[in-house]
Subunit: 269 residues, 2 copies
Amino acid sequence: MKAHLPLGIFDSGVGGLTVAREVHRQLPCESIVYLGDTARVPYGNKSREAVRRYALEDARFLSEQGVKLIVVACNTATAFALERLEEEMEVPVIGVIEPGVRAALEATQSGKIGIIGTYGTIGSRAYQDALARHNGDIEIIARPTPLLVPLVEENWLDHDVTRSVLAEYLEPILSQGADTLVLACTHYPLLLPLLEREYGDRIRLIDSASTCAAMVGEMLEAHDGKNPSSATSRIRLCLTDDPGQSRDLIERFLGDRASKPELVKVEKD
Amino acid sequence: MKAHLPLGIFDSGVGGLTVAREVHRQLPCESIVYLGDTARVPYGNKSREAVRRYALEDARFLSEQGVKLIVVACNTATAFALERLEEEMEVPVIGVIEPGVRAALEATQSGKIGIIGTYGTIGSRAYQDALARHNGDIEIIARPTPLLVPLVEENWLDHDVTRSVLAEYLEPILSQGADTLVLACTHYPLLLPLLEREYGDRIRLIDSASTCAAMVGEMLEAHDGKNPSSATSRIRLCLTDDPGQSRDLIERFLGDRASKPELVKVEKD
């Protein structure tokens, strides 16, 4: 692995920037190329075939930018396309599911794990299957929580409505005795302060952004791939459509860590 | 206009089915071809250029099916592409904005009109500009209400959370004295029962589905285009991606009025 090359991270939109932010926080000297496929966001309501095609185009774009490793910072793309990407790409590919699953298995004592995410992620059964592959005795309480992304996008991060929605969504998970909760969506880390305050004494919260960033660090160590520079680098931000209303989200996710967004094309004619 | 031909209706997804349902209710003998561009839904967060390209592809698909009139049952596509579609298409094109605007102007007595819709629709200023074109003295209170679509999709149509969200969203509109509220999003007609119950005595509710369907009826009358058959027809449902989780929404929007969804391709290679 060529240590001086950047890391590539892609997502269907800007949600994966929570992963980029965590990678940047944990590995500040690594350059990052972030691709958000904002022209086709979201992937969560698209078919397996469509998502696989989009993910391949996204990964090829990053590959053309000369990255040393690709992070699939999108749950749907990880669920539907990770294996295919691992076959096709010449650099290592890390999905966002496996790190969260491993961390949840280390954290649980009751053996009951809750999972929340979009309809697409929960319906794909990707987390459920990955947990079961590691440990068939784990009891899983999975629930789609589709209101949380728009609540984050509304910036209602500490709002009574958000509290009520979380209470309704988490009730069956808590009442069935889960002691660990996987936040299986890249938007959810922004709800961590509220979740920690309201539920932190009852349930261990596993967010995929920080677990995924930790795995990137391990992978770089293992391949002698850490950038030897000690300068703090920035995030190059590539989007497939004008960010429009997402500008504000990008700002909230990344602050001044990123370059001005570049408009790029990933679809093959 | 060839009266025996079907009507064409398109939307970025399945939300426009509320328009198809109203057209079918008001004009039960008209055959309908409905195209939902579910592979690229939603349009509301895409750029003007992207939406214009998608809308042209959608309208051309309907044109190839031999329709006598095209309804753009998508606020974003109407805002960004209606003029272009009117130029390009050989059949009349009706957008979803003008009918709602006219009905709101007829309804208001205070001269203050509220508008709620997605970020895309409100940000496009399409309703605001159309209102101002008709009457420059109208005071407009426009507000993006992005949580309402996922609340409808969750089927929380009579839920305390929905009541709280509506209260927060509508407070500034009511307190500024609007007596008429335009529901500028095709999902919102499903919230009409709750809105009527909670706010019906304070504000006139204008939904774009029924106003748009009424305009289709007028246009057919004017062009001698009403289907002479007296048999109740069905809705032919064409989607650009597998409906997946939207199956349930289609069922709730349409009941048994529609055929089994067909997968179609509208993108030109």
